[in-house]
Structure formats: structure tokens, C-alpha cells
């Protein structure tokens, strides 16, 4: 090979680096290589240091059942080791799977157009803000509901930081958005109002009349929703939203310490050419066959560069494959059942806690599968959590963990999925009784 190139040694390939004075003149301070067995040992040890438990943790990541077929199908090597389907002639499988995913997202949200995924639900909120600012001329402000997931608010604030864009927070009241304030906050520079339901506490938001108010101001209305909740609660389209966002982790993606997940975004038809990310469209080939291809690429960074609607290139394709397989197996009936079981089990637990005198879901709004429990003191909460932990139960997420705000230190968010059994729920209640 060296002869073909016309050089005498491998080192000569780096002459330019040497001449530039950039050649590293020492070995890297990184361990020597390991055999596969040794590598597996290290990783098994690390995995073993993590503790698994019966999870009542939620706040953006949920322990739902995942059919075995999901993992097996999403491990097929031509899906796993393929690149972005730029060459449609040899990528029909990936393209069609994404087309089915887009359709599934449109069906769940009621929207017209879905992209082929974003990174996750929280970053999707920042992408929605960017879309809105680009869509509405001379706007530089987005309004976020205070009840959005704290990390989603963080992502939007980071997006705005140092750019002159403004993020304003609509206050909350009794655990839900205080829409009485919205009219005062919407102004000429407002590109969008973004809210979430179920919200950060698990409560469902009543968006009656909100779309009209937002649209009168010529702003976009964005709703973030857990897609499994959409099997029971009104879809974004039913509330009159322009943009639907969220995370499909609940559709077959393991908790995996927070990622990879899969952000979804779907929009109404007028926004089709503004939505960020890849889109698969249907067309025909030279033989007139129905085929699929990446389309509307004029929106994207590799064509538009600094005028693109977003910089996104790699997305979460394999995770959107996971979610479409999961949803295909469950069907609408299965989604409704998973959603309803989570709902019923969460209410069973909440009712049980209330009977024991706990301040569980004290707000007036309904909740779906997650609710807050308010404690009187840090000591009470600590006793509760550690008693549960001693029995292998992760009892909930302390809200202050997300907000880093002392006012939230006595709020525990408790999530219940269809995976939790009656036995586990009753055990939770028994320990709650002991901790009282």
C-alpha cells in the first residue's frame, strides 16, 4: 500500500502535521487496550454499581412495559448500522419505517406533518421556540408556562441566552397555568406560547379558549404532551395548537439513564416548510412504484446553511423506529389500555395516600399517571423516601431536584405506570403508613 502511495513509511503520511509543529510527541495518557473479556468485566462492574429498584420515578422518564419484539426488531443490523437514508434506492426500509413513524405521530397529535424526530422532548421545546421566532417577523419573545418541565424551560432559556431573544414565564396557580395572565403578556413581539400537559406536576391543563387568545395575537400555540397520555386526553390538534411536541420515550424506549430518547414535533400544514429536521415523503420511482425519499430538504442546513430553520442533522432515527414498532404492536387499543391502566393505578395509589392523610395531588386539576405529594417537613419526606428505598422502592422524584429551588424541596412527584402491580402499590401504601 505504501508503494502505491509512493511513500516509505506510515509516518510520512503525517509530514504535514509534523511541519505544522502539531505532532504529539508522547503516548496518550489513556489505558492500554483490553481484551473483550476484560472490557466486559469493567462494564459489568460499572453496571453493577448502579442500583435498580421498583420505580415510581417519572418527571420525563417512565418505566413502561416494552414488548420483547421491540428490542429484537430494532437490533436488526441493517437498521442499526445504516446511515441517514440519503440513497433511497438502498434505504427504502429505513425511509418507510420513518414514514410510518411520522404518520403515527400525526395520528396521535392530530397534526398534519411530523418530522423524523428531534433529540428529545426538552430540546424540542427550544426548537419550537426557534421555529416560532423564524415564522413571526420581528418577534423576539416566547412565553412559557411555569408548569412546563423545568428542564424544558432550562433548554429554552439556554437557547435564548446571549442572543437578545426573550423568554417570559406565565405564572402558575394551584399547579396549573394561570391563563388569566396570558392576555396581558401576549404582545406584538410574542412569537409563541408554549405549555405542557400533563404538566410538571402531572396535572392536565385546561386549554379552553387559549388557542383563540394566542391566535388573535398572531402567535403560535405549542403544546408538549406525553404521547401515551394522548390515548386518553385531548390531542394538541383538539386544543387548537399549531405545534405539537414531546418525547416518545414512553413508547418503547428504555429509561437508559436519560437517553437516547426521541423528541417528536408535528405541525399544522401551513408550517410544513418551517418544521426543523428531516422529513420523509412519498413519491414514485422510474417504474411508477410507490416509494419514499427524504424531502423538503430546502429547509435544511446542508442546503440553506446559515438560513436554515435549524442546525439539526443527526436525529434519533433508531429511537423513532423503536417507537413505531412499539406502537404497531400495541395498536390504538393497546395504547388506550396502557394509558388507562397507568391512570387507574396512579389514582388507586393517590387515593390510598390521601386516606392515610398524605397531601397527595392537592390541586383542583385532574391528573393522569403522575401526581405531587406535599410533605410538611424535610424530615418527613426524607423518612418516607428512605423507608421506601430500604425496601427497593424508588418512591418519587423530589421536585427541587429539577428546579434547584428550595420552595420545591417538600414536593415529591410520584409516577405510576401500567407495569406496577397491585402488590407493589399496596406495599407502597403499607410503607407510607409506617412512615406516617
Amino acid at each position: 500500500m505504501l508503494d502505491a502511495i509512493g511513500i516509505g513509511s506510515l509516518d510520512e503520511l503525517f509530514d504535514d502535521v509534523r511541519q505544522a509543529g502539531c505532532l504529539l510527541d508522547r503516548p496518550l495518557d489513556i489505558d492500554k487496550g483490553r481484551s473483550e473479556e476484560q472490557v466486559l468485566d469493567v462494564l459489568r462492574n460499572l453496571a453493577g454499581l448502579n442500583v435498580r429498584g421498583i420505580s415510581f420515578l417519572g418527571a420525563g422518564s417512565y418505566d413502561h412495559a416494552i414488548p420483547s419484539a421491540v428490542r429484537m426488531l430494532a437490533s436488526l443490523p441493517s437498521f442499526v448500522t445504516a446511515y441517514t437514508p440519503y440513497q433511497p434506492e438502498i434505504s427504502q426500509g429505513v425511509l418507510q419505517a420513518i414514514f410510518e413513524y411520522q404518520s403515527m405521530i400525526c395520528e396521535l397529535t392530530g397534526m398534519d406533518v411530523s418530522n423524523a424526530s428531534l433529540y428529545d422532548g426538552a430540546s424540542a421545546a427550544a426548537e419550537a421556540a426557534a421555529l416560532a421566532i423564524a415564522e413571526k417577523r420581528k418577534s423576539n419573545k416566547v412565553i412559557l408556562s411555569a408548569t412546563m418541565h423545568p428542564f424544558a424551560i432550562d433548554c429554552v432559556k439556554t437557547w435564548a441566552l446571549g442572543t437578545g431573544r426573550e423568554v417570559v414565564i406565565l405564572p402558575e396557580k394551584d399547579g396549573v397555568s394561570d391563563f388569566s395572565m396570558l392576555g396581558y403578556m401576549l404582545d406584538e413581539g410574542t412569537a409563541a406560547f408554549i405549555a405542557q400537559s400533563p404538566n410538571r406536576y402531572g396535572y392536565l391543563e385546561d386549554f379552553t379558549g387559549v388557542a383563540d387568545k394566542v391566535h388573535q395575537n398572531k402567535s403560535l400555540f405549542v403544546i408538549s404532551s406525553d404521547p401515551l397520555s394522548l390515548a386518553m386526553q385531548k390531542s394538541q390538534a383538539e386544543w387548537g395548537a399549531d405545534v405539537a411536541i414531546g418525547d416518545t420515550q414512553v413508547l418503547g424506549i428504555p429509561m437508559g439513564f436519560g437517553g437516547p430518547y426521541c423528541g417528536y414535533m408535528a405541525v399544522t400544514k401551513p408550517l410544513m416548510r418551517k418544521i426543523p429536521g428531516r422529513i420523509v415523503g412519498q413519491t414514485v420511482d422510474t417504474e411508477g412504484r410507490r416509494v419514499y425519499v427524504l424531502t423538503l430538504q430546502a429547509r435544511e442546513q446542508h442546503i440553506k446553511r446559515e438560513r436554515a430553520t435549524s442546525n439539526i442533522c443527526s436525529n434519533e432515527a433508531l429511537c423513532c423506529l423503536v417507537s413505531v414498532i412499539h406502537t404497531s404492536l400495541l395498536g390504538w387499543a393497546g395504547l388506550k389500555e396502557a394509558s388507562n391502566q397507568s391512570y387507574c393505578k396512579a389514582h388507586y395509589l393517590c387515593d390510598g395516600l390521601r386516606k392515610l392523610g398524605y397531601e397527595a395531588a392537592p390541586g383542583f386539576a385532574p391528573f393522569w399517571c403522575e401526581f405531587p405529594v406535599l410533605f410538611e417537613s424535610d424530615a418527613d419526606l426524607e423518612r418516607f423516601v428512605s423507608k421506601m428505598k430500604a425496601e427497593g422502592i424508588f418512591s418519587g422524584v423530589r421536585l427541587s431536584r429539577l428546579t434547584r429551588n428550595d420552595k420545591d424541596a417538600l414536593t415529591l412527584l410520584v409516577a405510576v405506570t401500567e407495569r406496577r402491580t397491585r402488590e407493589q402499590l399496596d406495599r407502597y401504601l403499607e410503607i407510607s403508613k409506617e412512615a406516617r
Binding site: C22, G33, T84, Q87, V94, G256, L329, W332
Partner: protein, 489 residues
């Protein structure tokens, strides 16, 4: 919503088109608590979602069939330039599917997360050494997300130093499209820097664009022509002199592991693509992971929470730096299971293995370039790094066979085409990146195919205009897809 196609015009029906009413592919245990009161009408959904009604076997057959109409690295050679489609070792998949990682909730107590946190900490430590940087964050979920994050760190740095007038980012014309788009996402004004006749940054042009409104320059080194920016130290001192910072797009770092470090070259912020250089699979477009690493002065501004090691207790933990951090860029801590794969790769390869990988990646690219330049034109005929670019302008003028035709022709030989029409400064460009994991036989094979394709172009260009001939489908009508969009069923 969708138009009707005759059955023989459908390659594989959508699963929803195969629906059999009430058929299901997964069953839950019966509800074992009382049915709760239904949601109030104000909140309850009225519409039905049209989804597949399929058995497990129906679903398995459907997606298995789809998988046969896809092309991965496991099936054949994938010389996509700037994408580093190296082989993804299977041990990575085994470690990333360990239940001690997959079943861990991101908000568990820190003492129940010591394995995850240690893995992230060790990965950051190794990446910092490999790049010559101080520390970093794993929160960005892809390369472009890393660019967005890295530029946000630069934004925040200048915000804290009361230099908000620095609002321009310089980017070479040959840069990846994500670079200008990432700058725009951060509200920066983008200014292009010319490429000179060597295919490198034009120093005079750079000089003329440097002043106190420049926040920094984004560079890929080796650049998108596969050439090492030999003046990088000079460029670094020029930019630093003007008060700006240097951003390193790590998309092409597979050329340099263990050979050179961006930190030593003068770069202040770097992102890497774990799904390129560190062998994690591309998954049909993602998920990736885009760690961002920075010099000491910029560490306070990286996304929060940081991952820290407490020497006194021997425990790992999160640290929130509310005062200085640029904030959060994704929902939790980044694409952790992708990081597990990359960490597995680093452990397997070790310091020597990583270095050998880059040396062989460069060897393979130069070998292919040497074989192909006999018949094809190479716009910059020098030793390249991990990738190189051919220009088919002459061929097209002579035969009307384009870069696209040759690329599609490669499909009939069983190869994935190279990157087409990029970088934009080269006409009729084909960009090859063979990576280190391919054998000499494979490289000889594709070069032979390329030479045959050129012969065919000279003899019967028409045949190539219609290639591929042996794929599941023929060329697609992209104009129709964009003009008359059908993007859902």
C-alpha cells in the same frame, strides 16, 4: 389522504394497510385495581388514532422485510466522506444493553447511580486527554447539537466578560452546513472565509476579517477536502490576538487520534461525534452523541450539571453551576447509552489502538486516492488525511455522466455511494472516507468498480443515467415528493 397505488406498484404495504380489525401484537395483564372515574369531557380525547392492528408475527414480518431494504455497515462498504462509517464492534451493543444501564432512571439518588456517573466521568477524562482539553460535557445529543452547545459556551464566555459586541463567527466556505446553521441558532452573524489554491484557509482573507466584533472561527481539521490545515498555529495566534476563540468541529477527528490534539493546535472548544470516531452505530440517522470539550478558561460555562468526583468520599455526583453555566441543552444528561458504547470502544482500543486506528484510516484514504487518481481527477493532489475528494467535472463534460450517476452505479456493485456534491467548492464532487476498519481487498474492489464505471461512462453513458439497475427500486422522483408532499398516511 394518500393516493391509491395498484398492489404491484407497492413494494411493501404499510403495516396499517395490512390491519385486521381487533388484531393485537401485545397484551397486558388485566387491570388489577378498580377502574377510576373517567376524565371529564373537557379533557377527554374524542378522536381515534388510526394505527396498525397487527399480531406480533405480522409486525415482526413487516419490519424484518423493511430491514432487508436497508443498507448498513454490517452489509458492505460505506465510504461516505465526513461520516466515518467504520465498523461498529458488537461488544458495544452488548455493554449498552446491560440492564444495569438500560433500566436506570435518570433521577435516581446519586448513590444509586455511581456506575453511570463513573462511566461518564472516565469518558470525559479520556476524551480530554485525547483532545488536549481540560474538561467537558456529554449533554449534546449529536454533532450539530455539540456545535450549538460549543458556540453557546463561547456566547456565555463573552457575556461574562462583557464583550457582547463579539457577534460574528468566521467559517470557511468548505465547512459542513451545520456550522453556519449552528452559529445562526446562537444568533451569531456568519461570515465566510475564503479557501486558497492549496485548499486551505486563506490567511490574507482571514486577516482582513478579524477585529473586535469576531467571537471566533469554526474550523474542521483536517478540513472537508481531507487536508490538514498546516497554518493552524498561525491561525490560532491571529484569532487569539484579535480576542476571538477557536472552535474545532470534530467530525474529522478520526484522522488524528494519538497523532495530534486540537488543544495543542490552539483550539478552545471542541465537539466530537461519538457516532463517527468512536464507533457507535448511526442507527439510520441517529442517535449520536456530541461531547463538547473546552480549555480551562471555558470550563465554568459548560452545560450543567457537571459530573464531578469527590475525592474525600470516593463518590461521583452532579454539580450545578447556576452562576456561570450556559444551562441545559437536552432533557437529562445526554445520550448516555451511546456514551456507553464509545467508552467500551475506548477501553477496547486503548491509547495504542486509537492511534493505530487513525494511522490506518489515513493509510486507507491515501491508498484509495492513489489508485483512483490514475483515472479520475483529484483537485488537490497531495497526501490527504482520512478522506479525499474527486472532481468529475471533466468526465461529465466529456460523457454527460455525472457524479450522481457514478455514485448510483456503485450501488449495482454492492457498495454504498460516497458523499456527493460536497464540499461545495469542488464541482461534481465525490468524497470518499474508507475508515481504518476496511481491508485492502475491499479498497481494491471498490477502486476496480470505480474504474469499470468510468469505462462504462466513456462507452455507454446512458446506461449509467438509469443506474442503479439491481436495487429494489429505481431512481426516485424527488421533485414530485417536494412539490406535492405526502408525508403521512
Amino acid at each position: 389522504m394518500m393516493e391509491e397505488f395498484a398492489p404491484d406498484r407497492i413494494v411493501e404495504p404499510l403495516l396499517v394497510e395490512q390491519a385486521v380489525p381487533k388484531r393485537r401484537g401485545y397484551l397486558f395483564a388485566p387491570l388489577d385495581v378498580p377502574q377510576a372515574a373517567p376524565l371529564d369531557d373537557v379533557f377527554a380525547r374524542n378522536s381515534v388514532a388510526r394505527l396498525p392492528e397487527a399480531s406480533e408475527l405480522d409486525t415482526v414480518r413487516h419490519f424484518s422485510k423493511l430491514s432487508t431494504m436497508a443498507y448498513g455497515v454490517d452489509y458492505g462498504f460505506y465510504p461516505l466522506g465526513s461520516c466515518t462509517m467504520k465498523y461498529n464492534p458488537k461488544v458495544n451493543e452488548v455493554t449498552a444493553s446491560m440492564e444495569g444501564f438500560t433500566d436506570i432512571h435518570p433521577l435516581q439518588d446519586e448513590d444509586s447511580l455511581q456506575g453511570c456517573l463513573a462511566l461518564m466521568y472516565r469518558t470525559l477524562k479520556d476524551l480530554s486527554e485525547l483532545l488536549g482539553m481540560k474538561w467537558g460535557s456529554l449533554q449534546a445529543c449529536a454533532g450539530a447539537h455539540g456545535e450549538y452547545t460549543g458556540l453557546k459556551i463561547i456566547r456565555t464566555y463573552f457575556l461574562h466578560h462583557n464583550e457582547m459586541g463579539r457577534n460574528r463567527i468566521l467559517i470557511p466556505v468548505s465547512a459542513h452546513g451545520t456550522n453556519p446553521a449552528s452559529a445562526n441558532m446562537n444568533g451569531f452573524e456568519v461570515q465566510e472565509v475564503a479557501t486558497d489554491e492549496r485548499g486551505l484557509v486563506d490567511l490574507n482573507d482571514l486577516e482582513s476579517k478579524l477585529d473586535d466584533t469576531v467571537a471566533g472561527i469554526m474550523l474542521t481539521n483536517p478540513n472537508t477536502l481531507g487536508l490538514f490545515e498546516k497554518d493552524i498555529r498561525k491561525i490560532a495566534s491571529m484569532v487569539h490576538e484579535a480576542g476571538g476563540l477557536l472552535y474545532y468541529d470534530g467530525a474529522n477527528f478520526n484522522a488524528l487520534m494519538g497523532m495530534a490534539r486540537p488543544g495543542d493546535m490552539g483550539f478552545d472548544v471542541v465537539h466530537l461525534n461519538l457516532h463517527k470516531t468512536f464507533s457507535t452505530p448511526h442507527g439510520g440517522g441517529g442517535p449520536g452523541s456530541g461531547p463538547v470539550l473546552v480549555k480551562k478558561e471555558l470550563v465554568p460555562f459548560i452545560p450543567q450539571p457537571d459530573i464531578v468526583y469527590h475525592e474525600d468520599s470516593g463518590k461521583y455526583g452532579f454539580k450545578w453551576n447556576e452562576e456561570t453555566s450556559c444551562g441545559k441543552v437536552s432533557g437529562f444528561w445526554g445520550n448516555f447509552l451511546v456514551v456507553v458504547r464509545a467508552f467500551t470502544y475506548i477501553l477496547s482500543m486503548g491509547s495504542d489502538g486509537l492511534k493505530a486506528a487513525s494511522r490506518h484510516a489515513v493509510l486507507n484514504a491515501n491508498y484509495m486516492q492513489a489508485l483512483l487518481k490514475k483515472e479520475y481527477s483529484v483537485p488537490y493532489d497531495v497526501i490527504c488525511k482520512h478522506e479525499f475528494v474527486l472532481s468529475l467535472s471533466n468526465l461529465k463534460e466529456r460523457t454527460s455522466v455525472s457524479a450522481l450517476d457514478i455514485a448510483k452505479g456503485l450501488i449495482d456493485f454492492g457498495y454504498h455511494p460516497p458523499t456527493m456534491y460536497f464540499p461545495m467548492i469542488v464541482h461534481e464532487a465525490l468524497m470518499f472516507e474508507p475508515t481504518e476498519t476496511e481491508s485492502k481487498d475491499t479498497l481494491d474492489g471498490i477502486c476496480k468498480a470505480m474504474l469499470q464505471l468510468k469505462d462504462m461512462a466513456e462507452k455507454d453513458g446512458g446506461w449509467l443515467h438509469d443506474s442503479p439497475h439491481h436495487a429494489v427500486i429505481g431512481r426516485v422522483d424527488e421533485v414530485r415528493a417536494a412539490k406535492n408532499p405526502v408525508v403521512r398516511y
